[in-house]
């Protein structure tokens, strides 16, 4: 896919999103309410309209082939970049997905092992050291010091004794 094609797709997608936002805004009054001023939907409605107009402007420039992006025939994402970026993004999404099941202390070591060992090609020694020490630091910093309880999923019971010690 060339940059020019990507520009078109992005403008169409964002234009569709603006229309959805405009439609969604009309759930509230978008006109003037007597003695109350503008209705709650007016502000997002007109701003979404500006979004839509901007997208139309981008499309207009696309059809006239104006500007460096609209005329670019370069690849939008190079194949080997796409590999790396996809690997990282998928790893992120899977990690966040795992938060709710095996908890943050199950997901983070897996993420670290994947990133350090398979993307970074670091030694197993470094990988395991970081995969264990970083979650431990996070536990003490966030849960003990800041008192922010992070998601644990099914590992929750394992932490009950720890809570008893620290709280």
């Amino acid at each position: 896919m060339t940059v020019r094609t990507a520009e078109l797709l992005m403008a169409i997608m964002m234009g569709a999103f603006s229309i959805y936002l405009m439609y969604k805004s009309t759930e509230l009054e978008i006109g003037w309410i007597e003695d109350e001023g503008p209705g709650g939907g007016a502000w997002p409605f007109w701003l979404s309209a500006v979004m839509l107009i901007s997208c139309l402007g981008i499309l207009y420039n696309w059809f006239r082939r104006k500007g460096p992006i609209a005329t670019s025939t370069r690849l939008y994402i190079e194949p080997h970049v796409l590999m790396d970026v996809t690997a990282v993004t998928v790893a992120l999404v899977v990690t966040v997905g795992l938060f709710s099941f095996i908890g943050i202390y199950g997901a983070l070591p897996l993420f670290l092992i994947f990133y350090l060992r398979f993307l970074g090609k670091h030694s197993w020694r470094l990988t395991t050291t970081l995969a264990i020490s970083i979650p431990v630091v996070i536990f003490f910093f966030f849960e003990i010091t800041l008192k922010i309880i992070l998601p644990k999923g099914i590992t929750e019971p394992l932490f009950l004794p720890l809570y008893k010690i620290f709280f």
Partner: protein, 507 residues
């Protein structure tokens, strides 16, 4: 005058509390580190680390974040000089002459010049700040809803009029930020509003931090992954030969470059005040002017010390300058200050001129901390140059997962909802895809912070005027501000007409 000095004295008392002192030192060191890492700048550091500050009171929190902001301005120079890769966009101009100096084996000279110029730039701008801020806040005290709204429109109009990005993409970025800030509840009627796809998670709105960490944390990191993938992850690290004797002779040589340093400081400060401009254009402009006023302009680009001094003085001065409108008017002067402003709202402070009266400790503590941060940053910078160079050798594949994890937890911490973490990842990916198409993203972050303040200001104004927009034009302060905002908004159009007119004359 005396009153200001008295208040500043009180500020120093706040700064000298041991906890705050520690926060400044930690913030400077972290900021230097973040700034020195290619790809990460002050805005990324502040966005990713803001959730950590819930531990300390607001004054401590802002002091810590301001120190990071400051440290990052110093740190950016380190990788610009040693790697030839700007540590942050604000340090782009520093590579022009810093890199050639490093290649000639004079890296220590460039690093010293950057540190000293940053220090002078920081000091001059903080002094200017101290004496400019209170009068400006005083004037702003009479501002009502119409003035506030006009000011925010002015901030957005500068992006359109002075920004170098595509007009439609800038407009899009501003309005999507404002619309996202409207998600949740209608502030006046209390009805649920824009609950997208009826997902209940949107009922508590889109937190500005989620967008900020999405764009500046996740999006930025994916962007850096791409750059590493393209560049093969290889870069040449120069060696720096730092000895006391060499440093002294470097300092002596610097004394003769005072003109470019002072020029950069003043220029950076005033450019920094403008919302759309900030540190990056400020430092580029300073570089250009330094070249023009130099007695040896032909040396620029080949290793002129002034070419390092001027932009470095300017980017530090600009970071202070951008805090002026944030503190006095409640309008951020840069993406970083937009995030600081959002933080202030989370900490329960209402931004705007009343801060100077209601939270004098907070304001003056922050101002005094800038003086202190400046001194610490230059000391840490000079003392630990060899350490920072070592850190630059840390492979990206070790730092990247750690930063990703900080982002994920930072997105979860403020609201403790998985919905927000998912939203942040989506923002990150979309931000990366949009950035590849040259969509400017800073306006969106500014907009999501200002949105919750702009909407009530607009609605109140319209209620006062019974629906007439004339209220933004017929008041003493709101009038001129609105007129300037509209002129800026149409500036790109004027430029186009002017260009066409000139072309016709040439033909």
């Amino acid at each position: 005058m005396l009153e200001i000095l008295g208040l500043l004295g009180n500020g120093f008392l706040v700064v000298f509390e041991p906890q705050n002192m520690m926060l400044i030192i930690a913030g400077c060191a972290l900021g230097l580190f973040i700034g020195a890492m290619p790809g990460l700048g002050s805005v990324n550091g502040v966005a990713i680390l803001l959730p950590l500050t819930f531990l300390v009171p607001p004054t401590g929190a802002i002091i810590f974040l301001a120190a990071i902001y400051y440290g990052a301005m110093y740190g950016g120079a380190i990788s610009s000089i040693m790697l030839g890769i700007p540590g942050a966009s604000t340090a782009v101009a520093t590579t022009f002459d810093g890199r050639p100096l490093a290649k000639q084996g004079l890296a220590d000279k460039a690093l010293t010049a950057a540190a000293v110029a940053s220090f002078v730039g920081g000091t001059i701008s903080v002094v200017l700040f101290t004496f400019f801020a209170p009068p400006l806040a005083h004037v702003a005290l009479v501002f009502g809803a119409p003035e506030e709204f006009a000011l925010m429109m002015l901030a957005f109009a500068t992006f359109v009029g002075l920004g170098s990005d595509d007009l439609f993409k800038t407009l899009f970025s501003i309005s999507i930020g404002l619309v996202l800030s409207a998600v949740g509840f209608d502030i006046i009627s209390g009805e649920p509003r824009l609950v997208l796809w009826d997902i209940t998670g949107f009922l508590h709105g889109v937190n500005f931090l989620i967008l900020a960490i999405g764009v500046y944390g996740i999006g930025e990191m994916i962007w850096t992954v791409e750059e590493h993938s393209l560049g093969g992850g290889k870069s040449m690290l120069s060696d720096a030969n730092v000895t006391v004797k060499r440093t002294l002779s470097n300092l002596r040589e610097l004394a003769s470059k005072w003109k470019s340093i002072v020029m950069g400081s003043f220029l950076g400060y005033f450019v920094g005040i403008l919302p759309a401009a900030g540190a990056t254009p400020g430092s580029l402009m300073a570089y250009g002017i330094a070249k023009q006023i130099s007695s040896e302009p032909e040396k620029f680009g080949k290793g002129a010390v002034e070419g390092v001094c001027a932009p470095e003085a300017a980017n530090n001065a600009a970071s202070t300058g951008s805090m002026l409108p944030m503190l006095t008017l409640g309008i951020p002067g840069s993406p970083t200050t937009a995030i600081l402003l959002g933080g202030m709202v989370i900490w329960g402070l209402e931004p705007g001129p009343r801060l100077f009266i209601d939270h004098s400790d907070f304001v003056w503590g922050l101002i005094a901390s800038l003086y202190a941060a400046n001194i610490f940053a230059v000391l840490i910078n000079v003392a630990f140059i060899p350490v920072f160079i070592k850190i630059l050798k840390t492979p990206f594949t070790i730092l990247a997962p750690i930063i990703f994890i900080l982002c994920l937890i930072g997105g979860y911490a403020p609201t403790q909802s998985m919905h927000d973490v998912w939203l942040m990842v989506v923002f990150g990916i979309v931000a990366y895809l949009m950035r590849k198409l040259d969509y400017p993203l800073a306006p969106a972050v500014l907009a999501i912070v200002l949105g919750p303040l702009a909407e009530p200001a607009l609605r109140q104004s319209l209620i006062i005027s019974d629906g007439s927009f004339a209220i933004f034009f017929n008041r003493t302060y709101a009038g001129p501000i609105s007129v300037v905002a509209i002129l800026l908004l149409f500036l790109p159009l004027f430029k186009k007409i002017y260009d066409k007119f000139r072309k016709r004359q040439v033909v």
